[in-house]
Symmetry: C2
Subunit: 92 residues, 2 copies
């Protein structure tokens, strides 16, 4: 899958990411991967749920959910572990 | 699956839930379902990752991840939607 179809979930409101996904699907993406780390994980789940139950109801489905641990560097230069999620949403 | 094997993730530290899971596996549970809602979702992912990569490395594996939307009643008596996750961890 092309990295172009990835939506990184950060601190913006849920609807901002929902709109980014709708735009990508309208540009003929067949599937989108939502990626989030740490506390943004729950927002990624919100985006997936709002997309499939409201904005694109019956048009998309969840096809994969993966969780993982990633190493990131802190401001002090130390390595620390952070949980991550990848949710794949595909046109039906 | 018996409800006894469910661990509800709330606001305690990650290690509290990791220890609850280790205890249940030591009492011969074959699998455990971590359940969380809202902002606790990212903590549920942390618990699963710490269990399978550290405390019970090579002893357990992820067998299912589901996300859903649940309706809850607010203090004012209104219904509101909240995202939820269920992560199933099974002995290898």
């Amino acid at each position: 899958m092309s990295e172009d179809n990835t939506v990184f979930i950060g601190n913006k409101p849920v609807t901002a990411y929902v709109m980014a996904c709708v735009t990508q699907f309208n540009r003929n993406a067949d599937s989108i991967v939502l990626k989030a780390r740490g506390r943004a994980i729950s927002r990624a789940v919100d985006v997936a749920e709002v997309l499939r139950h409201r904005f694109m109801k019956d048009l998309v489905e969840l096809t994969d959910i993966k969780i993982a641990t990633e190493q990131i560097e802190t401001r002090e230069g130390n390595l620390t572990n952070v949980s991550a999620i990848e949710i794949t949403i595909t046109k039906t």
